[in-house]
């Protein structure tokens, strides 16, 4: 970052650019703390019902698509790597690198959503969606329905977050194309990256809890 460019992006309430960056990151981390608790309510429900019905949760978990879930985990972990490299590209002011890495991150997010959609369709066809159409041929249909309710609520809330992330990445790519992140103004990319990595972390827990609750 050149010294001359710094004053242009410095908002008047901050003493210097370091303080401005720290404030932006602190704001995002506080938001992520609220997100931990937002998802936390669902993780708590999952924990309580798994504690109450361990066998049914294990049996129901075997009906999820572990290959697709695992592939989606790899896709998100790889997308996080691209995101981290995008932040680096924005720090270095490498515009074309930044645009391609943001587009790559968004594309992997879209592939993730496609696979998730395919899974949801399969669950629907297999009558695993809670409600009037739910069919369960093993013991304790009610507890199995709770498992699938949690499965759809947790992956659904996560999918909403991925969708928001994809839109953010695409908007950032357009802004990067319009040269908005030059002169050291990379903080929007860094902060969006924090959000994307958080969404990745949520899935890191969802995969073993939902897909691997019962060994195969």
């Amino acid at each position: 970052m050149s010294e001359a460019a710094a004053p242009n992006i410095l908002a008047e309430q901050f003493d210097d650019i370091e303080q401005q960056h720290e404030a932006a990151k602190l704001g995002m981390w506080i938001f992520l703390a609220t997100e931990v608790l937002f998802f936390g309510g669902l993780f708590l429900s999952y924990t309580v019902y798994r504690y109450l019905y361990p066998e049914v949760f294990a049996a129901a978990s075997r009906h999820t698509e572990v290959m697709l879930g695992g592939a989606n985990t790899a896709i998100l972990l790889f997308s996080s790597t691209l995101m981290a490299l995008a932040v680096r590209a924005s720090q270095l002011g490498r515009r074309s690198h930044l645009i391609w890495l943001l587009l790559g991150t968004a594309l992997l997010g879209i592939v993730f959503m496609g696979i998730k959609g395919f899974e949801y369709h399969k669950d629907f066809v297999d009558h695993l969606v809670p409600g009037a159409g739910f069919q369960w041929h093993e013991a304790n249909s009610g507890a199995a329905e709770i498992f699938f309710w949690l499965y759809f609520a947790m992956t659904g809330l996560h999918a909403i977050h991925v969708t928001v992330g994809i839109v953010v990445m695409l908007v950032l790519a357009v802004l990067a194309w319009r040269r908005r992140f030059e002169g050291g103004n990379y903080m929007p990319v860094e902060v969006a990256g924090l959000y994307w990595h958080f969404v990745d972390i949520v899935w890191v827990f969802l995969f073993p809890l939902l897909y691997l609750a019962g060994h195969r």
Binding site: T73, S80, A84, Q91, L194, H197, L212
Partner: protein, 97 residues
Amino acid sequence: MEKIHPPKIYWTNCLCLMGLLALTWGLGYVNFGVFNLPIALFISFTKTILIVLFFMHIKGSSRLLHLAAFTGLIWLFLMLLLTLGDYTSRGLVSMPK
């Protein structure tokens, strides 16, 4: 100005995360009884630490950000601890009439 890390750090982290994913995935096909869940959660926490330290740049950031990053986790832990304390102890003690 923050430190700009070489890309090697991110690719190494990516490889470690993929290795841990393979471990979690493989664990799903092995029966360790009650230990499957603790091992899976341990791997997930390890992955989280790698992501938070290297991708989210908590390594090398200020104490204030360390605290903010821990806040959510601490409150989540408290919520799980207190609720499970209730659920797991119900019926252990009979109430005097």
